[in-house]
Symmetry: C2
Subunit: 219 residues, 2 copies
DNA sequence: CTATAATGACTGACCAGTCAGTTATTAAGC
DNA sequence: GCTTAATAACTGACTGGTCAGTCATTATAG
């Protein structure tokens, strides 16, 4: 973004950042198929011809939106787990808060919905997303949970399944915002919702005095 | 719907059940916009012209898929909460198991993904879905949780938020199956996944001996 | 004047929706 | 039973509109 070495004037600043931003917004809002490239170009303030100077096709634009949108952010936040020194519960809190701050609460928060909607039509991009985004994110969660178990802070449970159970409410919050939440349907306050979420994950919902049978047998 | 007064023989049984089923499958698989009505008709074994004998438009077909697909099933399972006599934890288990059995694990399991994808393009249907499906489902959950709290089995917590926290992993399981899960990406075994889920919800992940501060303060 | 960037009218493929025509089913006449 | 008439069910070629992708032209910079 910053001018690199032209003394008085950039020749052309246009890396297609506005185009990617406009495309992300419209893909999230209307879906891939229902988005017209004329509209994307118009929202970015250029013509459709210009769009085709930077992207070979609508598919290529979609791919670029996914790749250049999420992957850098995810890499950026990767060191958090190693650096952390406090309790694992706090690390879990921090991870979720960071995800919400950097992704969920920005335009990128629409990407999960977009990938869910279009995975079937773009298996190649879905695979890319799975390997470069989902697996990496799961890895952060896995290390956090393993850390908690090793330190005796968490119970030993099926980590792979726990990852999804813990992250699902966070994901759904972002997905909801970009789907039915945008139609005037109810919506929680994120801060307070995540607090309840963590509370439930760490303590469960059972009353402390009640004896609970975890795996389905009656008392 | 039932034959009114033909003594020995129905004239024609064809309510367009095959068309609705075919449309549901293809909408879930490819998305609304990317689904061609020629293909829907072909999958149902009729011509496109026949499809238009029963549905006024592609939009009307979509609406029918949502309405006639989910609402009856939801109504059918509504009495479960009243009839239940055991512990509230078991009721929660039963509700989730029933949802998975009747919706998640059938073709209807694709409807949540479909609504998420298309809510923006069909606000009217999204509102219908919210009021007739989501709110009703939340109501079952609410009564279950309230029951548990009243009986001292569950802690008092924010019920509205707890509903979503508890149901999100179940929903995500169904959504995953119809999006990235269909692209060869990993997938949990539902039975075992829901067991872990309930275990976590009821007991939390914290080790019993660890002192946990539920709401974000350090120890 | 040359080179580069940007444009927007144009084209061809695609597909929702239509409708004149075909086939299947039932009823009527004998 | 057999033939014909009447109606219902279904078909698929066609049309009109939409939109991804192209490219000859225009604008701008040096």
């Amino acid at each position: 973004m910053l001018p690199i070495e032209s003394p008085r004037q950039r020749r052309k600043e246009a890396r297609p950042a506005e185009l990617l931003a406009a495309a992300l917004e419209m893909f999230v809002e209307k879906g891939f198929a229902a988005t017209r490239l004329d509209d994307v170009a118009k929202r970015a303030g250029v013509s459709k011809g210009t769009l085709y100077l930077y992207f070979d096709s609508k598919d290529a634009l979609f791919k670029a939106v996914i790749q250049e949108g999420i992957v850098p952010v995810l890499q950026q936040g990767a060191g958090m787990v190693e650096r952390h020194t406090g309790s694992s519960a706090d690390l879990l809190r921090d991870l979720i808060a960071a995800w919400w701050q950097l992704i969920g609460n920005t335009h990128l928060g629409g990407v999960p919905k977009l990938m869910i909607s279009e995975a079937g039509n773009f298996p190649e991009i879905a695979t890319y997303y799975y390997e470069n985004v989902i697996l990496r994110g799961r890895d952060l969660m896995r290390r956090t949970l393993q850390r908690g178990i090793d330190q005796g802070e968490f119970r030993a449970l099926n980590i792979e399944q726990a990852i999804d159970v813990i992250f699902a409410p966070v994901l759904m919050m972002a997905i909801w915002r970009h789907s039915l939440g945008a139609c005037g349907c109810g919506q929680h306050d994120p801060e307070s919702y995540f607090a309840t979420h963590l509370d439930m994950m760490l303590c469960g919902i059972a009353h402390p005095s009640a004896t609970v049978q975890p795996d389905g047998m009656h008392s």
